[in-house]
Amino acid sequence: MRKTFTFIAAICALMSGAALLQLKLAVQDQAERVAALADQIHEDEESLRILRAEFAHLTTPRSLQEQSIENLAIMPPRPEQVLGNIDEIPFRRSDSKVDGSQSVLLPAAEESGVNAEQDSTAKSEDQTL
């Protein structure tokens, strides 16, 4: 009995030892992966610096202005376009029609015709509900 127990204990010890070693090797593997990831992060951070510099270079106001003139035809805002207070936004005329969302403040284009009519009727139905 004692012998059997000793034998089983010895087998268990050997097996758990082997399992432990497996675990350890797996942990080392993971640690290597983490180290590799850390290196990757380091490299990415370095690239990030370069990209940030490149971004700053590409978005320097001069080139933005040139691009804007070429592609957008946007000008600096005139003083009357700059509104500092929500109260300065004029109310919509009550008789003006609206495209789609109610948040659109511009009056509907006259030529949008039938569709706009339908939209606005649908809208008014919504409101009555």
Partner: protein
């Protein structure tokens, strides 16, 4: 071994009478002994090696950390965190000529890859007896790859750091530049060299007060004006009047700090801080503030400007002569030298000097740059000096000094130290130089000088600009050159709650058809200020609004316009 031999010898004679098995057993015993000794020796050797264990590396750090990105010099950013200067890795190529077998062939290969190099010079370098010669500093990644592709063992790279200025010429004078070893040579790079190269703070960018957007708007407008008026130079400044922060600083012509080779003195010269100019009528602001603050004159007072003023051999004229008695607001708005000079005489030379001294106009600006110019003024402050200095002649100061002084006139009377660094506080903590009441009066005067006087072309609608023109003839060989002007405009906006001072200066502008041939500050510099305000006020969060006429009405009524 000796033991075994000795024993064997003893038993040599016994070989005959003992059985072979007995001999074998005896020798076996000796074998066992030898093995024991041998194993013992191995054990001793093992223990000996184990004992010499290096204790130092017994404990290994198990924690994995991301290696930090290190660089030798801290970045410089603007007030919004926009990158202005950054250190990036670059490679430099060197060779070990002792390992070069075929200098001519290698030189030819290198010239093919790096077109900037000279074949003859390379051959000479590569056939020298030294062990180290630089071939080319700071290669592009593509060039590095090509050189690697040559595969010559004598060629090697050394990783270096390169200082890059992503915005190029923009803000070149404020930033300055570094030499090839990365030491700051000019600008904040030089002034903060120790701080920027401090290893512990390399990861912490140096935040400047500059705003690249405003910087660009100012540079763009000045450049356009310079081109239109064929000026030889220009300077511009935007300053937060409440904190003294320099939001933009432009000096033209400028340079690219990324490539400073071949850049001349005139490009490197910082006209905003190093250049000192007779700034003309803008100085009247100080004379008026002085008189009003000291109670020497009030808005209701006036001076006789019917005829030019004569003092010893000088004659003081008005550029826009009205030839009548002028009230104080009129003198300011019409920029009357005659009136101002008389007021200065009432103030007195000593008090004037003391007042200008208190505004820091008589000593170099206290700015974070080494390129600051010392103001120029007469060593002996005579009566004539008092009179000319009152309207900005006979004294030369740098634009940054002027902007600092004007800021203190409008911000409630507190003088701030100008700074290129972003400051945390938004309120003025400077020492008082004039009373808040005087400051309010000066704001009225400055606003009226725009609406009614010479600075009309600076009036950006909605932004309530106040300001004063300044036009001075350049001193040439003891006299003044009537053709060579320094035309400037000092604007502040919005006048009912001053936020920013905008200064523009053109060096030797020429009149154009659009300006009817005029080249004075009101014609060439004021529009620059107006455009800059229109472009940048939305960026800086200053709202346009309709003017409250009541603020100026009482004073405006004192100005009687001829038309």
């Amino acid at each position: 071994m000796s033991l075994a031999r000795a024993q064997s010898f003893d038993f040599h004679g016994a070989d005959e009478d003992q059985s072979p098995l007995a001999v074998a057993r005896l020798r076996l015993m000796i074998g066992v002994l030898l093995f024991m000794v041998a194993f013992g020796l191995m054990a001793v050797r093992t223990i000996e090696l184990g004992m010499t264990s290096p204790v130092a590396n017994r404990t290994a750090a198990r924690e994995i950390v991301v290696p930090p990105v290190t660089f030798a010099r801290a970045d410089i950013v603007d007030r919004n965190g926009e990158l202005l200067a950054v250190n990036l890795q670059s490679s430099s190529l060197y060779a070990n000529p002792r390992e070069v077998t075929d200098p001519i062939g290698l030189a030819k290969q290198l010239v093919d890859v790096l077109p900037g190099l000279s074949q003859a010079e390379l051959e000479q370098k590569l056939s020298s007896k030294r062990a180290f010669v630089w071939i080319k500093r700071k290669l592009t990644p593509k060039q590095k790859w090509q050189v690697n592709a040559l595969g010559d063992p004598a060629l090697n790279f050394r990783d270096e750091e390169d200082r890059l200025y992503p915005h190029g010429r923009l803000a070149s004078h404020a930033l300055g530049y570094v030499d090839v070893d990365g030491n700051g040579i000019a600008g904040v790079e030089h002034y903060f060299n120790d701080r920027l190269s401090e290893v512990e703070r390399a990861g912490e960018p140096l935040a400047l007060a500059l705003d690249v957007r405003v910087q660009y708007a100012l540079a763009d407008e000045l450049e356009a004006a310079m081109r239109a008026h064929q000026a030889i130079g220009a300077a511009g400044l935007v300053m937060d009047v409440n904190t003294g922060e320099v939001i933009a600083m432009v000096s033209m012509p400028d340079f690219d700090p990324n490539n400073i080779r071949g850049v001349g003195e005139s490009e490197r010269f910082n006209r905003v801080t190093k250049g000192v100019y007779e700034l003309g009528s803008t100085f009247k602001t100080f004379t008026f503030a002085n008189a009003l603050d000291d109670g020497i004159a009030t808005f209701e007072d006036g001076y006789d400007a019917t005829k030019p003023l004569r003092i010893s051999r000088f004659t003081i004229n008005d550029d826009h002569p009205k030839n009548r008695y002028l009230t104080l607001p009129e003198i300011f708005a019409f920029s009357s030298n005659i009136g101002t000079a008389q007021m200065a005489l009432d103030i007195g030379g000593d008090r004037q000097q003391q007042f200008l001294q208190s505004l820091g106009l008589l000593s170099p600006a206290d700015l974070e740059l080494t390129e600051v110019g010392a103001p120029m003024y007469p060593a002996t402050w005579r009566k004539v000096s008092t009179m000319t200095i009152s309207y900005g002649h006979g004294i030369a100061v740098s634009p940054v000094q002027l902007a600092t002084g004007i800021s203190s006139m409008v911000n409630g009377g507190r003088l701030n130290t100008p700074t290129l660094l972003k400051s945390r506080s938004q309120t003025s903590k400077g020492k008082p130089v004039v009373s808040p009441a005087t400051s309010r009066q000066m704001r009225q005067l400055l606003r009226l000088a725009v609406t009614k006087g010479t600075g009309g072309r600076s009036d950006a609608r909605g932004y309530r600009v106040g300001g004063k023109t300044g036009t001075a003839e350049k001193a040439v060989g003891g006299g003044y050159d009537r053709k060579a002007l320094i035309s400037s405009f000092m604007g502040v906006y919005p006048m009912d709650d001053p936020q920013y001072a905008v200064f523009a200066l053109l060096d030797e502008p020429k009149g154009t058809k659009e300006t009817f041939g005029f080249a004075s500050g009101g014609w060439v510099a004021a529009p620059v200020v107006k455009n800059v305000i229109l472009r940048t006020a939305p960026l800086l969060g200053v709202l346009p609004k309709a003017e409250d006429e009541n603020l100026y009405q009482r004073v405006a009524l004192m100005i009687e316009e001829d038309e």
